[in-house]
Amino acid sequence: MANSGIFSVNEVVDLINHRQFPSGDSLELIQTQNVTEVMNTTFSEIAEDTYNLHFMTISNLQSRRGSQNLGIRFLESGILRTSSYVYSSRGVSLTDVAATSNSDNATYIYLDNTGSESWINNFYIYFYNLGDSRLNSHCTIHKTGHRINTSGAYNASGTYMRVGGGLLTARSKVDGIVIHNSAFGDSATYSLYGVRGS
């Protein structure tokens, strides 16, 4: 944007909207999506050339219709990648029951599975090097959630946390992120941020 050296308020607002004006805060919102029973929530504009580190929050993710898998997939040149993912994560319940979920050759990076009941989950996820074709794209994952029954009531023994991560074994430039539900779709608020300067 051409200017005389002094920005007007409208120019500053416009620059902020285009992520071209430093706010002092390095955590910059790219997009928020509120979805209802969506199987593939797609972030196709992730500014992968601007940010080396992305941060995603998934809030109040609700799935109420039985067993389904939840995972992460990437877009390469806008094309959905459905192979060559690996992951490992460790889930722990409040009663200290732990379980590992892992794969060396998966169709997505595992976030969770409902099992026989439904869930309300919350996550934060860091994504690394998505735009750098020389490197693998990685992520680290944190979750806390609670199982619910089909009427929506909380299960008294159903609180879980999970930590872990995953990566795409192919080295490529990733230009999109998809949160995938294998069966019925999720309702949630997804927010994707870029960490400026990373």
Binding site: S26, N52, Y87, N136, S198
Partner: protein, 176 residues
């Protein structure tokens, strides 16, 4: 300018190096710091782990003594799960594994608590993702530098002299 996550410093691996010192990044302005390390690779075709963090005091001296303790949960894509607890170490292991660029890299985020407060220990929690030719590892860790002194910076260290860093970026933010 006020903000919640404020950029302080960035350092990139130049040439080849076994240690990377990030100096004079901690101050009385913040209690908590966020360190992002991304795309760390090494010069040789090995399946390697990087030792991790050491701290630099107000005299600009790296503490290489056995003043560090840590515990890291290691989660491998093969299904192997382990914990790496250790005391009286000369570094804080944060779960970084890497290789030459064709075979892998490591990235992660660490938070450092109260480094500039000379009356407290300095604490770390961390998360890492890494790949080398032998494994893919995801880690969650915690560590402590058991010296109550003013800490102004840190070092990322590789102790094997044949395994220089050839690529990597470290970015430090203050958290308000």
């Amino acid at each position: 300018m006020a903000g919640n996550l404020e950029f302080i410093h960035q350092e990139q691996v130049q040439g080849t190096a076994l240690t990377i010192n990030i100096e004079n990044v901690f101050s009385d302005k913040y209690d908590i710091y966020k360190v992002v390390y991304s795309g760390f690779v090494q010069s040789t075709n090995v399946s390697n782990g990087i030792e991790g963090f050491r701290f630099i005091n107000a005299s600009n001296s790296v503490n290489t003594g056995n003043n560090y303790a840590y515990a890291v949960r290691n989660m491998l894509s093969s299904g192997t799960i382990s914990i790496s607890p250790s005391t009286a170490q000369s570094y804080i292991w944060i779960g970084m594994i890497t290789d030459r660029v064709e075979d892998g890299s490591t990235s992660g985020v660490a938070y450092i608590y109260n480094p500039y407060n000379s009356s407290t220990y300095t604490f770390v929690n961390s998360q890492a993702s890494g790949k080398n030719s032998s494994e893919k590892r995801f880690s969650k860790g915690m560590g402590v530098y058991q010296v109550a002194e003013r800490v102004t910076g840190f070092q990322i260290v590789e102790t094997n002299s044949s395994r220089s860093f050839t690529h990597g970026t470290i970015t430090v933010y203050g958290v308000k």
